[in-house]
């Protein structure tokens, strides 16, 4: 039997609920209700053979349940500059490839759709992928040229009401965003979420994928984050890029890998390592259902602490305001 609430009881209940909701939305330090996302911070001083063991431990540690599934690794390939820090290092990608196979994945593909250059395989060749990854061409998909499906993202932040996205990524059991840790001259930092721009097909949207710029870069990053539900993030901060990134910056050694199931938590952690305030990064604020998601106490860091690996990345003048105090 239900007793009707008195007017005073109803007001007290509603007021309490509103207060709680307000705390969840605006109180960065408030505790999250669900278990905090886990983010691995692992020292990795160089691109060497030890990465194979490191990646196996990271993949095993996060219990990703990839047995029998297709895993798509999405590195960041930008320019024909093998000596620079512009592209995700091929040895790291190969180490992840081996780690996911060892974890029981039925198939591991490497896939990318660069935003500026059309000749993706030539770019991958120049970046050292053919040399490092046996039978690279057999496992690689050019996402700029892949078959597509029209989708409406789960949540919409930009004015793009539909996106054509590559089937290889949409059908993956797990999409692994393997970004480079870089500053970015439009959005402050480019990490695992911004890396998803490379899944937008150039054959439809062009080179560059200018639709994403006209519809709002930060909003489109949030759209893409919502479009792919099964993700894992590994950020290559062994040598990142600072200054006028993501193309014209200079190498910055941070000696770290950052990984986790929740790209928001991973990118917020990377920002803190780079001494950037994640609350000042527009796309993180947009994509977070509430800002507590990117609050440091609500992210369970595994391995190193942020403090022990923190490496301030130089910022262009327009972004000095995002520097973590």
């Amino acid at each position: 039997m239900h007793r009707r609430l008195t007017r005073r009881e109803w007001l007290a209940t509603a007021g309490g609920a509103a207060l709680l909701a307000g705390c969840r939305t605006h109180g960065p330090a408030a505790a999250s209700v669900s278990a905090p996302p886990q983010v691995s911070i692992v020292r990795a001083p160089a691109y060497d053979q030890s990465l194979y063991d490191t990646l196996r431990r990271i993949v095993a540690g996060h219990r990703l349940g990839v047995r029998g599934r297709t895993v798509v690794l999405k590195p960041n390939l930008v320019e024909f500059e093998p000596e620079s820090s512009i592209n995700t290092h091929p040895l790291l990608v190969h180490a992840a490839y081996e780690a996911f196979l060892a974890a029981g994945a039925a198939r591991v593909q490497i896939a990318e759709g660069p935003g500026h250059r059309r000749n993706t395989l030539d770019l991958a060749d120049a970046a050292g992928y053919f040399q490092t990854i046996p039978k690279f061409e057999d496992v690689f998909v050019d996402l700029n040229l892949d078959d597509v499906t029209r989708v409406r993202p789960e949540a919409q932040f930009s004015r793009i009401d539909k996106l054509y996205l590559p089937n290889s990524v949409l059908r993956a059991g797990l999409l692994v965003s393997m970004a480079k840790m870089k500053t970015h001259h439009w959005v402050g930092a480019t990490l695992s979420m911004k890396n998803l721009f490379g899944t937008v097909p150039g054959a439809i949207y062009g080179w560059p994928k200018n639709v994403l710029h006209w519809s709002g870069i930060e909003e489109c990053i949030a759209d893409l984050h919502a479009a792919y539900p099964r993700k894992f993030a590994i950020v290559d901060g062994i040598v990142g890029m600072e200054g006028n990134g993501p193309i014209q910056g200079v190498p910055k050694k941070a000696g770290v890998l950052v990984a986790g199931r929740d790209p928001l938590a991973v990118d917020a952690t990377c920002c803190r390592i780079m001494k950037i305030d994640p609350f000042q990064i527009g796309y993180l604020r947009l994509a977070a259902t509430d800002l507590t998601q990117i609050a440091e106490p609500n992210i369970a860091q595994i391995g190193e602490s942020i403090r022990t690996v923190a490496t301030p990345f130089d910022l262009i003048p327009d972004f000095r305001r995002v520097r973590l105090g």
Binding site: N210, V211, W214
Partner: protein, 286 residues
């Protein structure tokens, strides 16, 4: 990949994929050009029928059948000419190109920028280029293709409207050249920092500047020669060959270096098309 491989890779619907999978407009146009330049009319006709079947009501073409928007690939279809794609379809494609500009040149955008107090480049207003997708900015790639399509049409049937857009497009290209010569995708000084030229877009823009003499073209030709000797990308070499040839600058007896990988249908097709052009059968020039 040879002509035989190209024929084998034709999809059942008559179109071609880039590498594998469903049919796309861009590889289909280039495959048709390659087949026609080799006298293979049967598969080319099936490709043309597929292209005709996906024309949109606004007179443009989508990048593939299920995409509900006409884009830059309309310029590629127009390049086929009325004798191949059909007079009505060709007229529609040319009309679409003449109506389309980069969004930065549109009245709505200019009014918006004026209201926001943002400065506008006079050049963007007066000399519009073409976007990849309507509603976005103009870039070197789609502008070059559109200029080539309109130039081909102008040689067939000249009009002042066509001449005006070609000239404006060429000014757009010259204004987007990189400081050190040549072109990247069209953003030569992002945030004030000079950026580098790309081989493929340098060749493409040079092709669209056929017959134009200017210090920027001379500078770009020097850069293109350097790219031609250093570059090993099939896509880039195809456009560099063409861009240099239309300016009479392709080294006599030039042969593509061994070891260049032709992996996609456009790369293979354009190699065949450029070879045919070097032998006097120029699909782009008409």
């Amino acid at each position: 990949m040879s002509i035989d491989t190209l024929i084998r890779k034709q999809n059942r619907d008559g179109g071609w994929s880039y590498v594998r999978g469903g049919s796309w407009t861009e590889p289909t146009v280039y495959a048709i050009m390659a087949l026609l330049s080799s006298g293979e009319t049967g598969p080319a006709q099936r490709g043309i029928a597929w292209l005709r079947s996906i024309e949109r009501r606004d007179g443009g073409w989508p990048p593939r059948a299920e995409v509900d928007q006409s884009t830059w690939v309309t310029g590629l279809v127009a390049l086929l000419g009325p004798g191949k794609i059909g007079a009505a379809a060709h007229r529609h494609a040319i009309g679409w190109l003449l109506r389309t500009t980069g969004e930065e040149s549109s009245t709505i955008y200019r009014v918006r920028e004026w209201l926001l107090g943002n400065g506008m480049s006079e050049s963007d207003r007066k000399f519009p280029g073409w976007p990849w997708v309507p509603g976005t900015a103009a870039w070197v790639g789609p502008t070059s293709i559109a200029i080539m399509a309109l130039e081909k049409e102008d040689r067939r049937q000249s009009s002042s409207e066509i001449r005006r857009r070609i000239e404006a497009g060429r000014v757009f290209l010259l204004g987007r050249a990189c400081d050190e010569g040549g072109w990247n995708h069209g953003s030569s000084r992002p945030l004030g920092y000079p950026s580098d030229a790309y081989p493929e877009t340098t060749g493409l823009a040079l092709a669209a500047l056929r017959g134009v003499r200017s210090p920027k073209v001379e500078q770009a030709l020097t850069v293109a020669h350097r790219f031609l000797s250093e570059c090993r990308s099939a896509d880039a070499l195809n456009w560099l060959r063409f861009g240099l040839r239309v300016h009479g600058e392709l080294p006599p007896g030039y042969c593509t270096p061994s070891g260049v990988a032709y992996r996609t249908v456009p790369e293979t097709s354009l190699d065949l098309v450029m070879t045919a052009a070097e032998q006097g059968r120029d699909c782009f020039g008409g």
